[in-house]
């Protein structure tokens, strides 16, 4: 299945949440509270998990019931019959289906191998992982990196249609690319029309300031939510 697109990986994890609850609160509500309380943007735990392009956590309560008339194999006979009797119409409707559990869904698009990603995740954000997943079925067996990986693999659902919204370069390369693009536009606005000599001098200063080869900085930070005020170093 298409879990990968080049070096980009699309991870889908569905972890069943335990039934019932404790202290008059259902586990599902407790999980909801814990993901609602996560920080946004720069404060998000995903900002610290290496190589995350985009990640989401949400709760899948149930499947949606679509009360469309049943489609017969050759001709939509049940629809015709439904004109004459409501009983016929109801009989032709699909059965309602429900999930056995409610699920915590974790979706992440990232750069690189799944193994490396999970390792980075465990090393950087163990507290976050334990808080969010604590009420999921069998998570109590997770106590180290190996058991965490095993747990995620068991809950993983293959991706069928993966559209990666960016390139498959590493996060640092993408952030640096965006930073340099923005800085280059500013450089052009400040220096256009100058003589070749002045321009060359300014360009050398620009290159030594933005440090093209240095992915660690200056650059945009992961999960950065606003542009730096002009002239302010990042």
């Amino acid at each position: 299945m298409a879990n990968t697109s080049g070096k980009a990986y699309a991870l889908n994890v569905l972890s069943p949440i335990k039934q019932s609850g404790e202290n008059d609160r259902g586990y599902v509500e407790q999980v909801r509270t814990s993901i609602q309380n996560l920080g946004l943007h720069e404060q998000s735990p995903f900002a610290n998990i290496p190589q995350t392009y985009l990640a989401r956590l949400f709760i899948l309560d149930d499947v949606v019931y679509e009360s469309l008339p049943g489609a017969d194999r050759i001709f939509n006979f049940s629809e015709i019959l439904s004109i004459f009797s409501d009983k016929q119409r109801r009989a032709a409707l699909p059965h309602q289906e429900h999930l056995k559990s409610k699920y915590l869904v974790f979706v992440s698009n990232f750069h690189g191998e799944l193994d490396d990603y999970l390792e980075g995740m465990w090393l950087q954000e163990q507290t976050f992982i334990k808080t969010v997943w604590q009420h999921c079925v069998a998570f109590d067996q997770v106590n180290d990196l190996i058991s965490f990986k095993e747990y995620i693999y068991k809950c993983q659902l293959d991706t069928t249609l993966f559209f990666n919204g960016s390139t498959d370069d590493s996060l640092q390369e993408q952030l640096k690319g965006l930073y340099v693009k923005q800085e280059l536009a500013n450089f052009a606005m400040e220096n256009q029309g100058k003589s070749a000599e002045q321009l060359q001098q300014a360009y050398q200063q620009f290159i030594s300031r933005v440090q093209l080869e240095n992915l660690d900085g200056p650059s945009w930070k992961p999960a950065q939510s606003s542009l730096a005020v002009e002239g302010e170093a990042i």
Partner: protein, 504 residues
């Protein structure tokens, strides 16, 4: 067979623009209805004065042009005040129900353009828009006094709202005057930045003599020909480009042959504009006038399209033909409107940030991917608007922004949300559809100090020239007021006046 429009049922200035027939002066004023019954009586009273579209196409073939016109439209709150049945009111689209002020986030009316900073008249509920167009100020004043006397007769049931700003520093005028800008004693089609305005208004089915007018103004077909747009893009009760009836309230007679109007008073910061093109014009390859042309997509003096006329030398040649005695009016119109941007996908002639390209991209959103959509214009055809505005005020000092001058912008469309609002939000204040990220359109964009706006004027990818970057764009146009109005048909007006709108 093609549908013939019932012109006697459609209000004037919709099918054909008054401005084209020398109605170069206008007065707009606004009413509040305090009593539903008296409001409806007022409608009955004014009904015989309302101008229809018939004026331009007399049955006997004679053109009997009145000296003055009158038209009317209502806001959602106005229709409520006129006591339309709830089931009819509930059928109006949500953006019309909300009104322009509550749509400020979508329209980008922030900072100086925030409704909190609008003219005083907009700090209250505005129910009815009235417009008088004329060939002289005297006939307008005469008609205004007549309508004011009808208002008087309602004994407070209807009132004219005060709070319009005037040129002499007034803040409490009962009307907003507008007029074409005069040069050497002659009226022009220009606005205060000096651009010739209103050239490529859409052409739709049901307008007369559309065969040569349709070039560049209808919808671009796969074979390169142009066809009139569907009537339902502009007039309710007729099929639109999706071959559906536009969303409209019931009963059908309330909506049919009516339309929605966007009224916006747009102040023009003439001083900032002139300073900006002077400063950049010094360095700009091709000079100040070419720069101004690339902001708009058309040269300022006569509207020559910059995508076809991309340098001063080409402009001189173009002008020779345009002004030649051997050139017919039909040929001149063709020179102004018959083009698309498909020979200029990089934007090296007409930048993708130019006003005319952003607001009407013609067939160019396929970006050269021939066959990407049903027709090259498929992404444009449902985003067109009819423009019916006029400039207001005078500019006394070309170096200053203050004073009362700008454009009373009026747009007509079947869906304010799908047409006007989409263009304003996605194409004017955002650039992603044009592969320009969040770069705004230069002239109308709601530019901010931080982060500052920029646009790039590209060059031919094969040339060695450098693209030109324009940063720190000042806000050149500010919103000073406005509302969404419903322009009913004559049938609907008389039904509203008689209180017989029945949605059941």
């Amino acid at each position: 067979m093609t549908e013939e429009l019932q012109l006697t049922d459609i209000q004037g200035n919709i099918v054909q623009a008054y401005g084209r027939a020398n109605f170069i002066f206008a007065r707009y004023f606004f009413l509040k209805i305090n009593d539903g019954e008296k409001g409806r009586e007022f409608l009955s009273c004014i009904l015989p004065s309302i101008t229809t579209a018939q004026l331009w196409k007399n049955i006997s073939g004679n053109l009997q042009r009145p000296t003055v016109t009158t038209n009317i439209a209502m806001s959602y709150k106005g229709l409520e005040a006129l006591e339309l049945p709830l089931a009819s009111l509930n059928g109006f689209p949500k953006e019309f129900v909300m009104g322009m002020q509550l749509r400020k986030d979508i329209l980008g009316d922030d900072g100086v353009s925030d409704p909190a900073n609008w003219d005083e008249i907009w700090r209250q509920d505005v129910h009815v828009w009235l417009s008088i167009n004329g060939q002289s100020k005297e006939t307008i004043e005469e008609r205004y006094q007549l309508i004011a006397s009808y208002v008087e007769q309602t004994q407070g049931g209807v009132e004219i709202l005060f709070g319009n700003k005037g040129e002499a520093g007034q803040t409490d005028l009962p009307y907003q005057d507008a007029s074409a800008i005069f040069e050497n004693g002659k009226p022009t089609a220009k606005e205060h930045f000096g651009y010739r305005d209103g050239i490529s208004d859409p052409v739709f089915q049901g307008q007369n003599d559309s065969s040569d007018r349709v070039l560049g103004r209808g919808k671009l077909m796969r074979d390169g020909s142009w066809k009139p747009l569907a009537t339902g893009e502009f007039i309710l009760g007729h099929p639109d480009e999706a071959m559906e009836y536009p969303k409209a309230p019931t009963p059908a007679n309330l909506a049919k042959n009516g339309t929605f109007m966007v009224y916006r008073k747009l102040h023009e910061n003439v001083g900032s504009f002139n300073k900006f093109i002077e400063e950049h014009g010094k360095d700009y390859p091709g000079g100040k006038e070419l720069l101004a042309a690339k902001f708009s997509g058309r040269w300022r003096d006569n509207g020559a399209p910059v995508t076809k006329v991309a340098s001063q030398e080409q402009k001189d040649e173009w002008d020779k033909i345009f002004y030649s005695e051997d050139t017919t009016d039909v040929q001149r119109k063709k020179m102004l409107t018959d083009f698309n941007y498909n020979d200029d996908l990089s934007g090296s002639k007409c930048p993708l940030s130019a006003h005319t390209r952003r607001t009407n991209p013609r067939g160019s959103l396929e970006f050269g991917q021939d066959g990407a959509f049903d027709t090259p214009g498929a992404l444009t055809n449902r985003r067109r608007i009819l423009r019916r505005g006029l400039p207001y005020g005078k500019v006394d000092d070309l170096t200053k922004d203050d004073g009362e001058h700008g454009i009373v912008f009026m747009a007509l469309n079947a869906s304010i949300e799908r047409q006007f609002e989409f263009v304003q939000q996605q194409w004017v204040n955002y650039g992603n559809d044009f592969k320009e990220g969040n770069d705004k359109e230069v002239l109308l964009g709601n530019h901010q100090i931080n982060p500052p706006s920029k646009v790039v004027h590209p060059v031919d990818p094969d040339s060695d020239d450098a693209p030109y970057f324009i940063g720190r764009i000042p806000r050149l146009v500010e919103t000073r007021g406005g509302e969404y109005f419903f322009v009913p048909s004559m049938t609907a007006l008389s039904m509203i006046a008689d209180g017989i709108i029945d949605p059941t």
